[in-house]
């Protein structure tokens, strides 16, 4: 008798637990519920109920801002934690920022963030790449920053070209979803000693640049194989950025990649490889390879941003310098961004804006950009001694005026990750012509 009673109790308890779990699961995407999740590990913010429930009332004082970010190295991770500590200790509104680090994961950061936000995670602010914007905007996940920007005096401290890029990413004229933070502007690294050996000066036009690539391809021992290649061409992942400079150098554009000018730019890119001015591995070379090739002295020039300048100086000292990509019929260089966004589900948008504005123009901007070597978006910080005395940063700042991004469309992520490397690989190896390759790229981006 007792055993039967026990069995029944176990069955009822199990059914109740399963039912509760299902109900909990069916609770859906209730993003307004602030309990659970990260809040469990954070001290409960001291916000009065009235303030939290009324969206029109500023909820700044004592608010907690959940901040999701990625850090490229353990040093950057420590730096971000220092910045958060500094902000928490010095802001006068009693705002507490809680930093939550997540891996960059080869770009998977945005996908994980999307899943979390869709699942109702309590995230107020996240670090950002512009290319992720359409996905989040189409799902109404990002807050429009326009009301905050209208009354913020830091707007004018940031270049108008940067604001234009931020607005364009959202796809709406009347809304800005992304807050600028820092930039990685591509420029050309070169080895002054190899330029001297080749008897050339720093190129000032696109034509001179192509000639410099040829001149710095040097066969020192006369065995028929170059010991130094003029250009560390990037045909693998991320190669669309330097490639874009060639296309624009001939007057082409991303909007019409099948124009004669765009095709001519592509032909130049192919010729650099097929004429033997780039290492044989170029069709598959990505970031690590072009940097390693430059470090080992195999290439005389390559294109990258300040993120690699520390390593360059460590290896070469003064025997490495930089110049902006020269102007031809047109001029363009990739201006990659790292920015921030505030989520629509955030209940502390004002406090969140204080944090992102601190990162964009305040002490947070100075600390982060000086610590990482990235280019500041704030004109005031750019004018500081640290950046004025750095030749790599100077090349970046000089490139800022013609910096841009690959058109941000729904097709862009796949175009960058798959279509471009495959197509450019075929073009470099002569399997398709420049014209055919450009048609493929055009169709895939604007399909």
């Amino acid at each position: 008798m007792k055993k039967k009673w026990l069995k029944r109790l176990v069955v009822v308890a199990t059914t109740a637990i399963m039912g509760l779990s299902l109900l909990a699961g069916c609770g859906g995407n209730d993003t307004e519920t602030p309990d659970g999740g990260a809040a469990e590990n954070v001290e409960t913010p001291d916000i009065s109920e009235d303030t939290a429930e009324t969206p029109d009332t500023p909820a700044v004082d004592g608010a907690t801002v959940q901040f999701r970010y990625w850090a490229d190295t353990p040093e950057f991770s420590q730096l971000m934690q220092d910045i958060i500590t500094y902000f928490n200790e010095t802001n006068t509104s009693g705002i507490t920022v809680v930093g939550e680090e997540a891996p960059w994961d080869g770009g998977g950061f945005a996908e994980n963030l999307f899943n979390s936000v869709m699942g109702g995670a309590d995230i107020d602010v996240a670090t950002w790449r512009l290319s992720s914007t359409p996905l989040f905007v189409n799902n109404d996940l990002l807050a429009d920053l326009t009301p905050f920007l209208d009354t913020w005096d830091g707007v004018s401290d940031i270049d108008g070209n940067i604001w234009a890029n931020m607005r364009e990413a959202g796809g709406r004229e009347d809304a800005t979803f992304v807050m600028p933070w820092n930039l990685q502007i591509l420029y050309v690294y070169y080895r002054p000693s190899i330029f001297e050996e080749a008897g050339i000066e720093v190129p000032t036009t696109y034509e001179e640049f192509l000639a410099a690539i040829e001149a710095t391809t040097i066969d020192r021992d006369g065995d028929g194989t170059p010991d130094v290649y003029g250009f560390g061409l990037r045909g693998g992942p991320g190669g669309q950025e330097p490639w874009g400079s060639f296309v624009h150098g001939r007057g082409g554009s991303f909007e019409d990649m099948t124009s004669a000018e765009s095709i001519a730019g592509m032909q130049d890119f192919i010729d650099v490889f097929q004429n033997g001015f780039a290492p044989p591995t170029a069709p598959s070379d990505g970031f690590s390879e072009i940097i390693d090739n430059f470090h080992s002295g195999l290439t005389a020039m390559t294109i990258h941003h300040t993120g690699s300048s520390g390593g360059m100086e460590e290896v070469f000292g003064d025997d490495v310098s930089a110049f902006p990509f020269p102007a031809g019929a047109g001029r363009w260089t990739s201006m990659a961004d790292t920015s921030t966004v505030i989520f629509e589900s955030s209940e502390n948008k004002e406090a969140a804006f204080e944090w992102v504005s601190f990162l964009a123009t305040g002490e947070g901007q100075r600390m982060w950009t000086e610590g990482t070597g990235n280019i500041p978006v704030s004109g005031t910080v750019q004018a500081g001694e640290f950046f004025q005395n750095n030749r790599f940063v100077q090349a970046s700042i000089e490139s800022q005026g013609f910096g841009g991004v690959i058109p941000i469309l729904d097709t862009t992520p796949e175009w960058i990750s798959t279509i471009f490397p495959n197509t450019i690989g075929q073009a470099l190896l002569g399997q398709v012509t420049a014209e055919e390759a450009m048609e493929t790229l055009q169709d895939a981006l604007y399909r």
């Binding site: 699961g25 999740g37 040093e75 080869g106 869709m118 690590s288």
Partner: protein
């Protein structure tokens, strides 16, 4: 029988054995020497031994924001709990499926198989919502529950296969001798099931030890596991090879130790017969 000459043993046994061992062990050797190379040796000319040995990468793993000790602790808690929960449930379920006839048995077993056919990404958002609502998010339980959803079905099938091969006469003999079902299961079946449980346990432990996707979604800085901590070392601007390889070496050590002990039980299990005659 003709005795093999020393020469033929060398060419037919030892040399192929050495070649296979080299093939298998070289990646581990390479990982290890990368972890102890000084930073300046990591790039540039390839050498098969370090110019000097430095344990700086190991030091940094434990003293910087990587906090590898916490990651090891968290991974161990999650893997141990998952193994305990999955093994308990799977053993009982496997026993029920193999010894009892009940309505819906076939459908349930098929459902267990189908469960593994759903791509993980499909489960991600619903599971996240469930964990958040239950208050399990950012606790080891969120991972334990997630991992058991795909380790239990596989383990049930694994144990079921083993149990089906066990002759019923073993239990029948116990029952005749006065045991009840529970006692027969604990005293007779469980000891025989030992090697199978070890093999299944190793599978469950390894799966949860190495899992990344759920761990990335359901943990925070305090509960982060090893795969997430290591993935943090792969940034946009490059890979911290020294820290990554040092972390890799430390990660495989517990697994190797476990295999070392598990191997004995596995071999015992393979050679032990159930009933004679």
């Amino acid at each position: 029988m003709k005795k093999q000459s020393i020469l033929s043993r060398i060419f037919l046994l030892y040399l192929p054995l050495i070649a296979i061992l080299l093939f298998i062990l070289f990646p581990f050797y390479w990982t290890f020497i990368t972890s102890v190379r000084p930073a300046e040796d990591l790039l540039g000319r390839v050498t098969y031994w370090p110019s000097s040995v430095s344990f700086e990468a190991y030091r940094q793993l434990f003293t910087t924001t990587v906090d590898f000790f916490a990651a090891i602790r968290n991974s161990f808690i999650v893997a141990a709990l998952t193994t305990a929960v999955s093994l308990t449930v799977s053993t009982l379920a496997g026993y029920a499926f193999s010894r009892y006839e009940f309505i819906g048995k076939r459908a349930l077993m098929t459902m267990f198989l189908c469960n593994n056919m759903f791509p993980t990404v499909l489960l991600m958002i619903p599971l996240f919502t469930i964990m958040r609502t239950l208050g399990f998010l950012h606790t080891p339980w969120s991972l334990v529950l997630s991992y058991t959803t795909f380790t239990i079905p596989f383990s049930v099938w694994l144990i079921l296969g083993f149990l089906k091969d066990l002759p019923m006469s073993l239990e029948e003999a116990a029952l005749v001798d006065g045991c009840n079902r529970r006692k027969a299961f604990l005293k007779i079946i469980m000891p025989v099931l030992g090697p199978c449980l070890v093999a299944t346990g190793v599978y469950i432990f390894m799966t949860s030890w190495n899992e990344y996707t759920f761990a990335m979604m359901f943990t925070n800085n305090a509960t982060r596991t090893i795969p997430v901590a290591l993935r943090n070392l792969i940034g946009q601007l490059g890979v911290r090879w020294d820290l990554l390889t040092a972390g890799g070496i430390l990660t495989v050590i517990p697994v190797c130790i476990m295999f070392f002990f598990a191997q004995k039980r596995l071999v015992t299990g393979l050679t032990a017969g159930a009933v004679k005659g």
